[in-house]
């Protein structure tokens, strides 16, 4: 029972102690703690039973409670697994000082708390505090660019959370309760639906910004793709932190059952997914591609969880888990690539196969997972998100989103083989007509020793990369075992069924490469997207527009 409390407090207190006493083996202590938390979470999954822990002598509508149901458990598994792997990955990095470990472990505890909290005010508090921790982590390396990014992140999130708190205030005004179950029963008993509109719009504005739903995603690439943040911070942000918004969205929609908003959110999910990959195609910065891609995947998850069918909801949840794994993996690889090539521009990276075959294979697995290839986790969960959509339009939209995902990852396929420019350089060098001047320019690049250095990885990094890649692979090929275990939904899509999806995927890949070859990513339409960069006032304005839009939608349409 008290384990639930330990999930929140143990990481925070340990981090604080390590910060105060500055122990020598702090990373090992942190690792042991994270392994224990992860182990307990996994043991709970063997025979899953909901757990509750009352935090005060007064019972539920007035007291406080921690609650772990199936959904919260799934999120806990993802959260603790990611944090454990990230610490292993970064074990011997120089910036793992006591302060960083305190913030990092603290963030783990706070995110656990968001999933376990049973009343809305506690959720609000934990989100506020974790936002503070995240904004410090974003600007941890303190260069001037990250100052701006961290500032925007902090203020925009605080602004949205004020809306969330106002919504809680309205709920308390009407019902006098704040815990999720009592709010749900109170809302169910409401006769006049109109009083729900204002609290719903307020709460949803805050939650949607956290989940980065269209049009409230402008802050996300700044925070997740900022150059200075360590890659493990970006991985945690994209892997789990943005999912807190999705998690709250599920909870809020559970409570507000009288409002039929499912179709609205399916449409918004589709738009978010399409906008996300369009922005991703426009980018050349490797971290920004991944950050925009998170938006696209959140859109996909939203399509799944907003559906009324249990199959699609389970598919959405499973995709949430899978996306956490492979996006974290991609961010770690991106960090390694930036270190190796000393550039963030993906078009200047090439020849990864010559540098490190190991990393190429891992990258291939991650890219295949995210583009939804059969036998990999992304393909498995995308199948269930699209499940039962017999309408031709919906099928086409899903295929279109898949195509867009592949199109935005063509650049990742391209960095694996050696660049063609090298061959043209050697041919010009052997060409007798080439003037001496061009030779002088070309020789240094052709005989650059540093470029041919093989990539070396620490054992901790290797273990993490292998483990995450194995998870991404086995969640697909053994999805029939893992998906029922995680989501409680009995799925049936064995290897043979997945094989049937292969031609479809190959056609999409060929189409993706074809469109890329035609220069779509350099077209004016895409370039227009690259220029979009909203400032603070504009982002705040989108929040208010979203709020007003939600309110008018509720009053005039639904």
């Amino acid at each position: 029972m008290y384990w639930l409390l330990a999930m929140i407090l143990a990481p925070i207190c340990t981090g604080l102690l390590l910060y105060v006493f500055k122990l020598k083996h702090r990373i090992w202590i942190a690792l042991i703690l994270q392994a224990v938390l992860m182990g307990w979470t996994l043991v709970q999954g063997v025979h899953f039973e909901p757990l509750q822990l009352s935090l005060s002598s007064v019972g539920i509508p007035y007291g406080m409670m921690l609650n772990m149901d199936r959904l919260a458990w799934l999120m806990l598994v993802l959260n603790n697994a990611l944090f454990l792997f990230m610490t292993i990955f970064n074990r011997d990095k120089h910036y793992m000082d006591p302060l960083f470990i305190f913030l990092f472990l603290g963030l783990q505890g706070l995110i656990n708390g968001i999933f376990l909290a049973y009343d809305l005010f506690n959720t609000y508090l934990l989100i506020e505090v974790s936002t503070v921790a995240v904004s410090i982590l974003i600007m941890y390396k303190r260069d001037s660019r990250s100052m701006y990014d961290g500032m925007i992140y902090l203020l925009v999130n605080m602004f949205a959370m004020v809306f969330f708190l106002m919504g809680i205030g309205y709920l308390y005004k009407y019902f006098g309760v704040l815990d999720i179950a009592s709010v749900k029963t109170a809302i169910g008993a409401v006769e006049d639906r109109q009083i729900l509109y204002l609290p719903y719009a307020f709460i949803l504005t805050g939650v949607s910004l956290k989940a980065a739903i269209m049009p409230l995603f402008s802050w996300l690439p700044k925070a997740h793709g900022t150059p200075s943040a360590p890659s493990i911070v970006s991985a945690v942000l994209s892997g789990i932190y943005v999912k807190t918004g999705v998690y709250l969205l599920i909870r809020v929609h559970e409570a507000f059952t009288p409002l039929p908003m499912n179709n609205v959110f399916i449409v918004m999910g589709i738009i978010t997914a399409i906008l996300g990959f369009t922005f991703a195609i426009a980018q050349k910065d490797i971290k920004l591609i991944l950050a925009y891609h998170t938006i696209s995947q959140v859109g996909l998850i939203l399509i799944g969880i907003s559906s009324t069918s249990a199959t699609q909801q389970a598919g959405g949840l499973y995709h949430l888990f899978n996306h956490g794994i492979f996006k974290a993996l991609l961010f770690l690889i991106a960090g390694l690539l930036i270190e190796t090539y000393h550039t963030r521009n993906i078009t200047q990276m090439h020849g990864l196969w010559q540098k490190s075959r190991f990393l190429t294979v891992i990258l291939l697995i991650a890219v295949l997972s995210i583009t939804g290839a059969p036998f990999f986790s992304g393909g498995y969960s995308k199948y269930y998100i699209a499940y039962g959509n017999n309408g031709i339009i919906m099928q086409l939209i899903m295929q279109f989103i898949n195509l867009g995902t592949i199109l935005s990852f063509v650049k990742f396929f391209k960095l694996m083989p050696a660049a063609k420019e090298n061959k043209t350089i050697t041919s010009t060098l052997t060409d007798p007509d080439t003037s001496a001047d061009t030779k002088a320019v070309y020789i240094p690049t052709a005989t650059n020793d540093e470029d041919d250095m093989p990539l070396t990885l620490s054992p901790g990094s290797k273990i993490t990369l292998i483990a995450l890649a194995a998870l991404a692979f086995f969640s697909g090929i053994a999805g029939d075992i893992i998906m029922p275990w995680l989501t409680g939904y009995e799925s049936h899509l064995n290897v043979l069924n997945q094989l049937q999806k292969l031609p479809n995927y190959l056609i999409l890949v060929v189409m993706g490469f074809g469109i890329y070859r035609l220069g779509f990513h350099e077209s004016l339409f895409i370039k227009a997207f690259r220029a979009v960069d909203l400032g603070f006032n504009a982002i705040a304005a989108t929040v208010v527009i979203y709020f007003m839009g939600m309110l008018s939608l509720l009053y005039f349409v639904v």
Partner: protein
């Protein structure tokens, strides 16, 4: 005239004032380019929420929930407890934003969102 003043008096409740303050804060955040004013607007919004929580479910005759043997209707202690926490959070967030703003100002030498953004883009 007397009637009109009475009408106005009825309109000025804690709830309405807090909503007005909330949207004043929203205006400040959207329309002002000064980073310091953005932080102040955020504080105004947080203050408005504190007023909102304290004035909902409250009437003039209520007595504070302190001591034993209370007579009459007792005010709801829960929002008060919640708001003490919210004040603490609000103060720490404001302090953090101001600290971040100070270092931002040292780097960019401007308090203007637009200019800061342009300088960031140059790098």
């Amino acid at each position: 005239m007397q009637n009109f003043i009475m009408q106005i008096d009825k309109l000025i409740t804690g709830e309405n004032v807090s909503l007005a303050l909330f949207f004043i804060g929203v205006y400040g955040i959207i329309a002002r380019r000064n980073i310091l004013k953005s932080i102040i607007s955020l504080s105004i919004m947080q203050a408005s929420i504190i007023l909102f929580f304290l004035s909902i479910r409250h009437t003039d005759q209520m007595v504070p929930p302190i001591g034993i043997g209370l007579t009459g209707e007792v005010a709801d202690p829960l929002p008060q407890a919640l708001m003490i926490t919210a004040i603490v959070i609000g103060v720490s967030v404001t302090a953090l934003s101001l600290t971040m703003f100070t270092s931002l100002y040292h780097k960019y030498g401007s308090t203007n969102w637009k200019k800061v953004k342009q300088k960031r883009g140059d790098q």
